[in-house]
Each structure stands twice: as C-alpha cells, then as structure tokens.
Subunit: 188 residues, 2 copies
DNA sequence: GTGGTTTTCTAGCATCGCTAGGATTGCTAG
DNA sequence: CTAGCAATCCTAGCGATGCTAGAAAACCAC
C-alpha cells in the first residue's frame, strides 16, 4: 500500500502548489489576476483539478492562502515579542508591507474566516495571543482583551489606510512612534 | 434655449439616479450585486447609458458614490464636533455602521481616490480636517497631523475588523471607551 | 490481458464589464 | 409641413470570468 501513500502525498503536494502559485501570482499582479485558468496553467493541470482540491473554488484557495498568512504573521510577531510594543508594531507593519496581497487575503477578502468564535482556527487565535502578550503589561486595571483589540485595530487601520494612499508617506515613522507613545504607557 | 436647459437638467438628474440606485442596491445586497445590467434596469434604461454618464464604467459610479459618502461623513463629523474625542469617534463608527456598503466604497474599494495629494477632492480633505480639529487640543508638543492619522487609523481599523467579524461583539462599547482613554489625554 | 475504479480533460453554461453599429428620436431650416 | 441633420438610445455581441457535467484517459487488482 505504499503506492497509495505516494498518491496521497502527490495530491497534498499539488494542493500546496496551487496555493503557492496563487500567492505568487497575487503578489505579483494582484488577486484579480489570479484566475482559475491561469492558476491551472501554472500548475500544469486543467481547471477542474482545482475544484477537486478546493471544492469551495477560488474563495477556498484564497482562504487557504490566508491561513498560511496567519501562521506566518504569528511567527513574525512571536519573533518580535522581545521588542515590546514598538517591536511588535513594527513587525506587524513590516509583514503587511512585505506581503500586501497576502495581507489582503487575510483581512480584506476571505470573509468566511472569522475571529472571536468557537470555530476560529488556532493559527488565527495565535496572532491575537501574541498581541495580547505585549499589551497585557501596560493594561493596568483595564481589561487587556479589548485594549488589545484597539491596539490591533490601530495597526490594521494604519496598514489599510496607507495601502489606499490615504496617509502621508512622509510621516510613516512618526506614526509608528505615536502608536508606541499612546499604547506603551499604563493608563489606569 | 430653455429646452436645452431642461435636457441637461434631466441628464444630471438621471446621473444622480444612477448613483442613488447603485448605493441602494449595494446597501441591500452588497456591491457584488451591483451589476451594470441590474443598474440599467433600475433606472429603466439600457446599459450603454451608464457609460455616457460615467465613462469609467462601474468603478466611476462607485467613485461617485464614495464622494457622496465623504460629504455625508464630513457632515456627520462636523455635527459631532462639540462632543470631542468621544463624540467624533462615536459618530464615525455610527456612520460606518449605518452605511456599510458606502463605507466600503469609500475605503476598501475605489482605490483611485487618494488622500494626501494635491488633486485630493475637497470633500475628502474635510473629513481629515474634522478629525484634526478634535485631536489638536490633545496633541501637546506632538505634531497634530500624524497623530490625527493614527487616531483615524484606529477608528478605521475598528470598523473594518469589526465588519470582518474579527472582534468580540460584546466589547464594542468598551473599545470605544478605550479609544477615548488612549487619545483623549495629552502626552507630551 | 481485462474489468472496474479513480483521475483528468474537453466542452460548455451563465454571468460579468464593456463597446460597436444601427435604429430611433428630437431639433432645425427651408 | 417636410427634409435633413444631430443627438440619443438600444440591440447585439465580444472577451473573460467562475464553475460544472460528461466523456476520455490512466491506473490498479485480478
């Protein structure tokens, strides 16, 4: 039955190639350029193969990419945990800046995935936990959970507004410093 | 030449009907449901008529709706100016909550419109000015401009993350209170 | 080899945004 | 009143999208 094992291994490999190709293409030309036909061409198979891996179609592929993104973001945040507020804020923005299409898939698109619920994937909770770990020391008497949500919202807002050319490019560093100033101190 | 005047008046009226129909349909069923065919049916004309009003097609119609949205948001913020940080933050979130599709058109979609540039429409600058007016008193020695951008990012992040079901519904009010706590005090 | 299962591809559907070209209407001049 | 011009509008169609049914091919056990 080792052949059967090889077949399932090939299958999962191909599934990963689909997501990898989608991410690559999205990062290069945006998610609009990620069509099922181009994706099928990239992995050198026909269109219906995509649906055997992801019955949900294109949305499911994007959701799979988003999940990968959450795992990578969690890793990036964990690596910056020692940097405190400034470190984690910088890491967050840097991640969104380095992989804009992936970030879009994680937050702007892929509305199926939702936080703050029982069926929320663990990878997604991990991101919140990383932010929470840094905010907790400065929460004081305030509930750290909601404060983390506000902190997270600030980072996410900075990313998305900046991406939409809504913010002044000259003040990027200054904004980051202000975030640290506003969230880095205890306010009981 | 009064007939000519009536004709141009009818034209502009029809243009507004197009945007109004688009907004109504988007608010009811989302922007994906706003197709050029359905839009043409709603105004009881054929598709190409849309392009005589908006050569840019669907994107231009959404941009027109977004501009209306910026004007309405600026008015809502101006009305809440006396409420200070808490008042304007509440008004902002309330606006986004009452007209979610319009808010999406203003920020998530419609990437043509950009802030912080010379050709930025006045209505868009007005929104920033309203936020700036409230932030300025608490800026202290800090530059009020970037601080307003951070404040704005927080509000925008709260709106978008909440819309994506990323935040706990139970803590809505608490988050707003925390925003006021973090941005309502001087931090020189 | 042969039959049956699994996998893959070809072909097509409905819908999308958008546009060219002809038809229809309205205005003007003789 | 009518002929001709100009503006307006609609029918029909193009290319591309996500997705799917049914035929074709490959694979495996016997």
């Amino acid at each position: 039955m080792t052949q059967r094992q090889r077949r399932v291994r090939d299958r999962t490999e191909r599934g990963q190639r689909i997501v990898a190709a989608a991410r690559e293409l999205a990062e290069a030309e945006g998610w609009d350029a990620v069509t099922t036909r181009r994706l099928a061409g990239l992995i050198e198979y026909s269109q219906p193969v995509l649906y055997s891996h992801f019955p949900g179609g294109k949305d499911a592929i994007m959701a799979a990419a988003a999940l990968e993104g959450f795992a990578e973001l969690a890793a990036a945040l964990a690596a910056a945990r020692d940097g405190g507020i400034a470190g984690i804020a910088g890491a967050y923005i840097e991640f969104a800046d380095a992989k804009p299409a992936l970030y879009d898939a994680m937050f702007t698109l892929a509305s199926e995935l939702r936080f703050a619920r029982d069926d929320t994937p663990e990878v997604m909770k991990a991101n919140f936990a990383e932010l929470l770990a840094v905010i907790e020391p400065v929460a004081g008497r305030q509930d750290a959970g909601p404060l983390t949500e506000v902190f997270w919202s600030t980072l996410h807002g900075l990313v998305t507004l900046d991406r939409g050319h809504r913010l002044s490019p000259a003040h990027r560093d200054e904004r980051l410093a202000l975030v640290v100033a506003r969230f880095g101190t205890r306010a009981d």
